[in-house]
């Protein structure tokens, strides 16, 4: 008993033991005592835990959160290979962004019609309301999109990036950044961006928020320097041929930034990855979705919707997640094999013959204890 007391009274040592526990046990043990609660909830512990488990369990695939209807969500846990319902503790949440374990939600109360923005950790279920920046300079402006910047391996703090119009020009934009460390907003402007930029799909990668145009052109806002620039040299001729007639979308997974180009008619997908030096795309994968074995189809000729790409630590694990014929399926690029993640045809929300999920319905997240 003597040593148990010694350990329990020695926070550094207790932390060392707790760091080796999985998230689920840690959340449970928050109620052992006030001291345990404080230790497990601290940003310091959260960061140590994330770093440790990223290093020691590199092959843990991310979880996937799916929006089945405007306010119904399911999450896919790859460890147990099942979909489970996920209930947010808010009324009509809209999932705006997901970034390395934290979510950005918009919730509106039906009575007051007030819209709240929340940062939410789906694992600890903690949330924090973010009040948007407001002063005389952004009166009469429109919010075009919010993004989330969070990398627990770099910092336990996150940033919310708000892109909005300026009051004097339709083509000039301002960017406000909220820092969770200081709980303050900083404003940058004025920036010029093409009108068809997908403002609401800002993707965080390497300390920058990236926005894409349907042409494949990429713009990035550097959070460190407050600059907004076009990624030069990012679009060689070889990509331009693909971009014409494709749906373009931007996805980050496990430290890699991807541009996915889907030729819907031809059911041909190419996945381009940004080089680590940020100078240009290279063709990472391509998939002919006509090759989905007929055994997976309920009726032939059905449409496919691409949901997400999940990058594992090694090439063998990299998977395309797509929706096809009442199923959520995976395609492993390395082995070129298809498999069913989940068959939705027995689920109550299944609607025969229709595509129920699109690329804006899937959000990857990882388990972290990150405080909000």
């Amino acid at each position: 008993m003597a040593s148990a007391t010694v350990i329990a009274g020695n926070d550094q040592m207790l932390i060392e033991i707790l760091l080796r526990l999985p998230i689920k046990s840690l959340i449970k043990f928050k109620s052992v005592s006030k001291n345990w609660h404080v230790l497990i909830s601290s940003p310091y512990f959260s960061q140590l835990h994330t770093l440790r488990h990223q290093l020691h369990l590199p092959n843990t695939p991310p979880y996937l959160l799916l929006r089945a209807s405007p306010s119904r969500f399911f999450y896919f846990n790859p460890e147990v290979n099942t979909f489970l319902p996920y209930d947010f503790p808010f009324s009509s949440p809209k999932l705006l962004r997901s970034c390395n374990g934290l979510l950005l939600l918009k919730c509106s109360s039906p009575e007051t019609a007030v819209e709240d923005y929340l940062i939410y950790n789906p694992i600890t279920r903690q949330s924090r309301k973010i009040v948007l920046y407001s002063d005389e300079k952004n009166a009469g402006t429109t919010v075009l999109g919010l993004s989330l910047a969070f990398d627990p391996s770099e910092s336990p703090y996150y940033k919310v990036v708000c892109l909005r119009t300026t009051e004097y020009s339709m083509y000039s934009y301002q960017i406000e950044v909220y820092d969770s460390q200081t709980c303050t907003w900083n404003r940058w402007g004025d920036f010029m961006l093409p009108y068809d930029t997908k403002f609401c799909n800002g993707v965080y990668w390497k300390n920058c928020i990236h926005w894409i145009r349907p042409t494949g052109e990429l713009f990035h806002f550097n959070l460190q320097y407050g600059t907004l620039e076009k990624r030069t040299g990012a679009l060689p001729g070889s990509i331009r041929a693909y971009v014409a007639g494709s749906e373009t979308f931007l996805r980050e997974s496990n430290g890699h930034l991807h541009m996915m180009l889907l030729l819907s008619e031809a059911k041909f997908l190419s996945v381009w990855e940004m080089r680590m030096d940020k100078h240009g795309w290279f063709l990472k994968y391509s998939v002919d979705l006509n090759t989905i074995p007929a055994t997976f189809a309920v009726i032939s000729g059905q449409a496919v919707s691409v949901l997400d790409i999940i990058r594992g630590e090694c090439e063998n694990d990299s998977t395309l997640v797509f929706h096809f014929s009442g199923k959520i399926m995976g395609y492993w690029f390395y082995t070129k094999s298809f498999d069913v993640f989940v068959d939705l045809r027995t689920d109550e929300f299944y609607q025969p013959g229709s595509l129920q999920f699109g690329c804006s319905d899937a959000y990857q997240f990882i388990e972290t204890l990150a405080p909000v």
Partner: protein
């Protein structure tokens, strides 16, 4: 104290436990206790080193651990065989009563033996992973200082962790 005969012999050190028991260990074992490394290197380890936080029962185990690790590492076997051997030894070594395990962890921390500290922390973590809150409180001798209302609020937050 340096005579020519002593140079050829193995250096030994005396470690004294909290309850006054003296253990004789070879240098290869003693240097694994980072906390006394400076004393050894500075030749200040005479006549014996007092280890005030470790009982003889635990110190005997610690020495057994260090001895095996020192012998395996210098035994001239290939690295993979040595690794396998250490793994088997570590597994068996951790097969002790949990109070002993807690004391070993505490001792490894105090004596600054990194591999043993890692081993005991890892073993303790896997031991408590699936335990209930009440079991963990009892094991670590922690008092529940939440009020009923506070505890209810905290439990609500992690309700899903029991699913």
């Amino acid at each position: 104290m340096s005579s020519s005969t002593e140079l050829t012999e193995k250096k030994v050190f005396l470690l004294k436990s909290l309850d006054g028991v003296i253990f004789e260990v070879e240098e290869s074992v003693a240097v694994q206790l980072e906390v006394i490394r400076e004393l050894i290197e500075g030749d200040c380890a005479r006549p014996f080193i007092s280890l005030y936080n470790v009982t003889s029962e635990i110190l005997a185990l610690v020495i057994e651990y260090c001895k095996h690790h020192a012998e395996t590492c210098s035994g001239g076997t290939s690295a993979t065989i040595a690794d396998e051997d250490l793994k088997t030894f570590d597994n068996e070594f951790m097969n002790v009563d949990e109070n002993i395990l807690l004391e070993l962890c505490s001792a490894a921390d105090y004596l600054d033996i990194k591999s043993l500290f890692e081993l005991t922390c890892r073993t303790l973590a896997s031991l408590i992973k699936d335990r209930t809150i009440i079991e963990v409180r009892k094991m670590f001798n922690v008092e529940n200082d939440f009020s009923v209302v506070e505890e209810k609020a905290v439990r609500k937050e992690f309700a899903w962790a029991f699913k």
